[in-house]
């Protein structure tokens, strides 16, 4: 309700409406962009630009639709372009410096062993995906968007999104597999076989 009111205010030219939207979505936007562009400062630029775009384009935005998915698509699209530009000039093998938070000296032994290791491996694997595949992983598993939501407005058929997501998931699965097996070994629960871990079709239902 607050969001719709903010959009209406913004459509009337009240900048206070934009502040509500910025406060509500800024952290999610910066974090999603960060996962794609892998640089905090660039991520803030992407999110900031997206808010300015939203401000300028709000007149054309249908207030009946939810703002969040539309806005996040703008953020993700811009992040993909930014990442692609960056990686054209900065090859991936030159971008191997670990993020500072991976070396968190404050982390306790348990945290280092589990959360930090998990994060490090996923972060490293994510880096090896092309930006567009990174984006679908972020949309699906970080932002929790459905494939239909991901396809909407982008002009991309759901089939293409599904294919891109499949390729990304497969690449991630391949990169994380040795670690996944090691993680699963002491547990009673078994991970699916290597073939099925790549892809798990479920007829007519949301995957996984």
């Amino acid at each position: 309700m607050e969001e719709r009111s903010a959009i209406e205010r913004l459509k009337r030219g009240d900048i206070g409406g934009l502040e509500v939207l910025v406060r509500r979505y800024q952290a999610r936007a910066v974090q999603a962009a960060y996962l794609i562009v892998r640089d905090r400062s660039l991520a803030e630029d992407v999110a900031q630009n997206a808010f300015v775009r939203a401000y300028n384009g709000i007149g054309r935005f249908d207030a009946e639709r939810p703002f969040g998915p539309w806005f996040m698509r703008v953020v993700v699209n811009d992040a993909v372009k930014t990442a692609a530009r960056r990686e054209r000039t900065l090859p991936l093998d030159r971008d191997n410096a670990p993020a500072s938070w991976l070396m968190d000296p404050e982390a306790g032994p348990q945290e280092l062993a589990e959360a930090a290791e998990t994060s490090r491996r996923v972060w490293t694997a994510l880096q090896k995906l092309p930006p567009a595949q990174r984006a679908v992983v972020v949309q699906r598993y970080y932002l929790g968007m459905s494939e239909a939501e991901m396809a909407q407005d982008e002009g991309t058929p759901p089939g293409t999104i599904g294919w891109r997501l499949h390729a990304a998931r497969k690449a991630l699965s391949r990169m994380l597999r040795p670690w996944s097996r090691a993680q699963a070994a002491p547990a009673t629960r078994r991970l699916p076989s290597s073939e099925s871990s790549d892809y798990a079709p479920e007829g007519g239902k949301e995957r996984e």
């Binding site: 900048i15 952290a27 997206a50 703008v74 994060s119 396809a151 407005d153």
Partner: protein
């Protein structure tokens, strides 16, 4: 699988939160400053009005300052009128930028937000320097390139500050929030796409947009010439550039700005084709590297022998997709089991190699919007290679 998914989701949350902690993100001051500097047309915001009141001197300007301000404003208006009367740079195409001089450095008033795209194309291409203005936006065609197989262009956009939409008066400028609309029109019904960047020539051949990218106010686009262009000839083109927001436009509707039209002529360069005709067999599948089209605009390897089955297998080159534009990196089906694969970089002279890493495909899926939260089901198929081909590239 769901345990894997949960772990992935938790890891992403952790990466995001640790890399950009939510409580350290505060974009509002910067966003507010930017939108205040460029208020929306129409009703003024209450904050903007308040700011104007704050900035206005309470006692009024002394007469001498008022006179000086009047002179300065008059000069600015006169300058703008002279510029509008003279029109944008629209002369014949010039050939080759001066060494070391960046493209688009002679664009008159205004500043650009970004640099032309990286790579060799801007330097191989012909400097054009044509600008068009409409709907409060200016689009400049910086350079263009044509060879026997492909045509490429480099553009940049500017928003004209203070210009009423549709008038195009140039009283200052800033970065454009719109960008040239690039849509892959190699498959599907072009009429169902929003307005997008197109190129045409007198022959009427159907150039397809096969690559490109936008960002930072700059854009480049690569078109294929399905019927080819004659090397060494002069060829006239017309470029149509609609601008859209990042979210894209709407099919059948006017673009957010434009379209902007550019007419220019280029010398058609050679795009060396290396006939390789080499076979490699893996797992009973024989692939043939028929040829390599070594166009700087879009170097391609033509691979044949891909089995045609219900999974719609397509070949993928080794290391493909890493830093390429997605449009360019997608394999393009040529029919009869042949595919054209983007190599990212020209092979150049000497010993070269091309490796097909795998064949991959999925069966046909419904190409329509699915109900919210539901998706289709597919069973992909992968046949791993690799099929390697080595060949000599002759010198000129």
């Amino acid at each position: 699988v769901s345990e894997q998914r949960k772990r992935l989701e938790r890891a992403l949350q952790s990466c995001a939160e640790r890399g950009a902690p939510a409580d350290t993100v505060d974009l509002w001051p910067a966003v507010r400053k930017r939108v205040r500097d460029a208020p929306v047309s129409g009703e003024r915001t209450s904050e903007a009005s308040a700011r104007s009141r704050t900035l206005r001197p309470s006692g009024g300007l002394p007469n001498i300052s008022l006179a000086l301000a009047f002179v300065v404003v008059s000069v600015l208006i006169l300058g703008a009128l002279v510029y509008v009367a003279a029109g944008p740079i629209n002369g014949p195409a010039q050939h080759g930028p001066p060494p070391g001089k960046p493209h688009g450095s002679e664009r008159g008033a205004g500043q650009t937000r970004g640099a032309p795209p990286e790579g060799r194309l801007p330097t191989l291409g012909t400097k054009v320097g044509q600008s068009r203005t409409a709907d409060g936006e200016r689009v400049t065609l910086d350079w263009a390139y044509a060879d026997e197989k492909y045509v490429a262009v480099g553009l940049h956009t500017q928003r004209l500050a203070g210009a009423q939409k549709g008038v195009g008066a140039d009283s200052g400028s800033g970065p454009s929030l719109l960008e040239p609309a690039l849509w892959d029109d190699t498959v599907g019904d072009e009429a169902k796409l929003p307005p997008y960047v197109k190129i045409t020539d007198a022959s009427g051949q159907d150039f397809d947009l096969v690559g490109g990218g936008t960002g930072g106010g700059s854009a480049n686009a690569v078109f294929d010439a399905p019927e080819g262009l004659q090397q060494g000839s002069r060829h006239r083109f017309r470029l149509e550039v609609p601008l859209s927001t990042a979210a894209g436009g709407t099919p059948g509707q006017k673009p957010a700005a434009g379209p902007f039209y550019f007419d220019f002529e280029l010398s058609v360069r050679p795009a060396p084709t290396i006939e390789v005709n080499q076979k490699a067999e893996v797992k009973g599948i024989t692939l043939t590297l028929e040829r390599v089209v070594d166009s700087p605009a879009n170097p391609q390897a033509v691979v044949c022998g891909v089995p045609v089955d219900a999974h719609r297998l397509m070949p993928w080159l080794e290391d493909q997709g890493g830093a390429h534009d997605e449009l360019v990196s997608a394999p393009q089906k040529l029919g009869n089991g042949c595919w054209s694969l983007s190599m990212g970089h020209p092979v150049g002279e000497g010993r070269s190699s091309v490796t097909v890493a795998r064949l991959e495909g999925v069966p046909e899926v419904p190409d329509r919007a699915e109900p919210r939260g539901r998706t289709f089901s597919v069973k992909p198929k992968t046949i791993r290679g690799s099929w390697s081909f080595e060949f000599e590239t002759p010198g000129p």
